[in-house]
């Protein structure tokens, strides 16, 4: 019987194929492959949505409680954001830079335990929906900013390349998309931290206790707040801002994957 696991497996295949086609488009300069890549991501997103919906029904709750659930929802958030940004800005090369990030998160999800487990008492709170869903949007927005910033750096490296100039938006556009994505991600990250603090106070008795996940969220918040300060007040834009966006996303990845795999804390389930 077709279930969540099958839908997720098909999703992984479609996302992988889309990355391959986007790479063929970019490396072999075959324009029609970008359209195939875009179509494959959209199909993948449909199966991904089916997978998440099936799990929601099976678990009788939103899939936001385990490592697998957060990772797959995070990947879904990146895919959805990508489809939205691609639809709005209509530049084909974006997929070449975003689908690898999407695959990293999707395959990280695939490596996690996928059993549906009921919520432990500490997770039985209405705050879980706000806290985790804003984390998904925040991380997704930062992933988009990172992908677009890498595009900026690639375009900067190959300024004279006619293909790149044709299929990538101009520097100003790339810079502004990255900035807007970071601004959105930063607001969401602030909501994540504040809602997490309120929830922690209810569950553990302290709203801030320097748990590694809290600490790395704080470090990520600092990195992006420095980015926003220097950008808005000192006019830091373009290449420097692009490098900053990539660095910020490294911190996001460490907050999400590194903290869970290397460090020990209260967030061992997330």
């Amino acid at each position: 019987m077709f279930d969540e696991r099958h839908a997720f497996a098909i999703t992984l295949i479609l996302y992988s194929l889309s990355m391959v086609t986007y790479f063929i488009f970019f490396m072999l300069r075959r324009e029609n492959y970008a359209s195939y890549g875009s179509l494959l991501v959209k199909l993948g997103l449909i199966f991904h949505t089916v997978s998440l919906a099936s799990r929601t029904v099976a678990a009788s709750r939103l899939p936001l409680a385990s490592q697998y659930e957060f990772a797959t929802t995070f990947a879904w958030g990146i895919a959805l954001s990508f489809v939205g940004f691609e639809w709005k800005y209509k530049f084909k090369a974006m997929g070449t830079f975003v689908t690898p990030l999407l695959l990293v998160v999707a395959f990280y999800a695939a490596m996690q335990n996928r059993d549906i487990r009921p919520l432990m008492p500490a997770l039985q709170s209405n705050w879980i929906v706000l806290h985790v869903s804003t984390a998904v949007f925040s991380y997704g927005a930062f992933a988009i900013a990172c992908g677009v910033s890498i595009m900026y750096l690639v375009r900067d490296k190959f300024k004279a390349d006619a293909f790149i100039n044709k299929y990538m938006p101009n520097f100003e556009m790339l810079d502004i998309i990255s900035y807007r994505a970071i601004a959105l991600g930063f607001i969401m990250l602030t909501v994540v931290i504040i809602s997490g603090a309120i929830w922690a106070e209810q569950a553990w008795g302290r709203y801030w206790q320097w748990d590694p996940k809290e600490t790395w969220s704080f470090i990520t918040w600092i990195i992006y707040s420095i980015y926003l300060h220097v950008r808005l007040n000192k006019g830091w834009k373009n290449k420097k801002a692009a490098w900053f966006a990539v660095l910020g996303f490294m911190a996001v990845l460490f907050t999400y994957i590194g903290v869970n795999t290397i460090l020990v804390g209260y967030h061992s389930y997330a």
Partner: protein
Amino acid sequence: MNKENTNTINKSINFLKSMKFGLIFLGLSGAISVIGSLIPQGNEATFYENNYSSFWSSMILALKFDDIYHAWYFVILFGALCLSLLLCSVTKISGIMKRMTRIPDNKTMVKLSKVDQEAADVKEIFKAQGFNKFKMLQKDNNKIMYYSKKHRLGYLGSWFIHVGVLLTIVFYGYGQIAFFSTNIYGVPGEIKAVQGTDYQVDIQDFYVDYREDGSVEQYTSNVELINNDGKLVKSTNVYVNKPMRHDGYAFYQTATGWATDFKIYRGDELIKEDIFYESTGIIEEREEIAIQFTRFFPDFRATEGGIVSVSSQPNNPKVLYTIFFRGHRVAMGVAEIGETINWYHYNFVFDNPRMYTYLHINKMPGKIGAMVGSLLIMVGLFLCFYMKPKEMVVMMEGNRLVIFGNDKNRFQSIG
């Protein structure tokens, strides 16, 4: 105070309130936090000596990396950050208020377009850009100027964020200093004094809800809070994520375990009777004997790999105990519930096993202040990114209307 001193003070204040200073300290606090996240915090010195080389363990202990978030340099760092935020907020507010209330100056604005006066209606020009109202001003050179402003609150965005961060840090710091914390544990029917407070907790009931798969759905303590006069103050269920709150204190359902009734006899004489909690010991000093309740097995089973509990339900409850005499461990065994254990002329018995509740109690002043600070940060972020101030000026120059805006990207094309 001479002029040189005044200049030095002004320069110092300017540096302290500068963005550069604030960002340096913010970055440093982030760097220290990285160290704190990588080195386990709050352990005994022996932990670091056993897990790190002698060089690194001595470095960790000497530099206070074992408790980095309470180290003097971390506190000073946040103090400096607060000072920077305070100076920045205080000195900027008057400028922000002026920007909010001032009449826009077309000389500092971007020229957007020129249109013929006869072909254009000023009201329509403003309306097309989202301004429903505008004002008219006759300038000194008799020129007529129309102007309007939108989203003036946006000027306060950055200020709200800075004040919010300042409040959050200050109230968090205050909460850390004034923090009160204690614990109580007990079985239903016990009344426990909350040390350091004027309250007692009457544990009416405690139960664990299990799901069909054996996992725990919830731990619930039904408690009554009693003051020093013996008066009932509050009666409620406390469970995970739903603490009981009263008078600034919060009572959290934190843990649980097993306890039994316990009696110990010398011959036929009862020498001690108490509730015995798992992982604790009962010492009878006059007798020089101590019994340790080492572990409780609700569903005991002996396997080749050792003794285990196959479920959380008390289907076959047994107690692993240890006997100490004059400070030395002399015996260890597994007792059935109600079984009398004999050791020389001592007899003891474990009976009536039931789960106990463990409540953590704390009082952390400043929560409201930190909450207000967080709210200000959120409002500030919204104002900063989504309520950007928009100013428009229309000037009459000859028979043409010249249109100015404060940011060309925020205006639709005109003319």
